[in-house]
Symmetry: C2
Subunit: 252 residues, 2 copies
Amino acid sequence: MTKSPRFQPVQPVRAYQRIVEQIEDALARGDLVPGQRLPSERELVGQFAVSRSTVREALRVLESNGVVRSRPGDPNGPEILPFSSSALRKQVARLARVDELTLSELIGFRMIMDGAAIQVASRLRTAEELAELEATLVAMRTAIDVDFDAFSEADLAFHELIARISRNSLIQTCNEVVRGVVLGLISDKIAHAPNSRALMLESLQHHAEVVDAIRAGNGQAAARLARQNMFDYYAGYVPDSEQETLRALIED
Amino acid sequence: MTKSPRFQPVQPVRAYQRIVEQIEDALARGDLVPGQRLPSERELVGQFAVSRSTVREALRVLESNGVVRSRPGDPNGPEILPFSSSALRKQVARLARVDELTLSELIGFRMIMDGAAIQVASRLRTAEELAELEATLVAMRTAIDVDFDAFSEADLAFHELIARISRNSLIQTCNEVVRGVVLGLISDKIAHAPNSRALMLESLQHHAEVVDAIRAGNGQAAARLARQNMFDYYAGYVPDSEQETLRALIED
DNA sequence: GCGCCGAACTGGTCTGACCAGTGGACTGGG
DNA sequence: CCCAGTCCACTGGTCAGACCAGTTCGGCGC
């Protein structure tokens, strides 16, 4: 039996795309590393044998993808950036804006990710990391007396630490991305909640319970607590009709 | 207590960025919907009062983000695209290429996501959806006799169905994205495995067990089976040193 | 030795031009 | 009347050359 050749739909490749490819390939091969500089636009014109408009279109694409950054007047040329999740966040934020994503889906996602991360973390954590977690709790307590932004920052540090302990940077990145999107949607409401101080104290209490479970090595319990915590914290902002699916995540 | 004004770091905003913003905002507001057409570049020059280079740079950015598509000669102008996860996948693939992401992290992520989706699905599934799942199993069995690509496709359908039943499109999208990246990394190895037929049969068997657990409404067991299944399927491609963290995901 | 200043760059934008390709209108034949 | 073929206005892709504002750095004067 001969397999049919499986032709690909042919689509025109623009010049600027090939430039983007070349630069991304160089980056993938390691010929280009973050911090390095690209030649100036006018020099690239010579190297790629295209016009400056074409070079610039390629640079704009790379820039919007967070690969490089151009600064006017910089004699060193465009800079290769280290990877950042900002481009990823932009994409997810777009998803959320087009309303393909509801708040409950975002929060459900975080409940799953954070719960799983905590479960793994409670197994893999070292004594030092446990101490770090406890230190973060103290920082959260202190931040409550400052303002909501400070608390939010300390909370972020807590979850980033968890993700790090779980030894999976994808979880870390996803958490960061989704957290950013969620906060972008409702941070104003939270900040203006009349009883925000009480909310923060309650959240702190929940986090402490999670750390207790981690200390005890009880991953299941820690994960359940974490999901419950997040549900309590955010459920008020989710329409009633969407709460059922979230509830399915805390019972098990 | 007066709050300090919290100034933002001021950074120059380029003309093309403002065009991108305007178009994205119009999209977010619903003034622009997928399928609609943008005016031609030369007309946008007039509306935005900038040069064509600037308009084009904006369009290139939007195009690389998967928002629009330009076709040469099309008198209707650039097309607004429906959302697709391809841009998201591109970002994650970039992450993986820069080697900030290891294969084990990707697989661990899938184990978590898929396990969680299955756990939720086993609670929320309707009778019809259960029947759909069973139909997918049959399709997988049939596909084994065709080739690996067909099986892979049927497997994809299974996991997409699971994600849909879990009522969370973010899980669905993430699974799709990460799965694509993982397959991009190792699909050649799998396809050329000498005993690929046996592997497929085993995978099918595991999927059937998962469906059994879902039918019984035993979410915990279904999730554990799913994680175990994925571990068995992919563990061979993961360096020994990275397997420990994955094992932490199957025990609980 | 120190600080000021200007020249030689940088990127950002604009103008105007050419080309290959598209698709709709127009026209001729049935 | 309808349909098929032709043609042309217009599209996006690319190019060349120009100007401006801003940065950097070396040399100049103090």
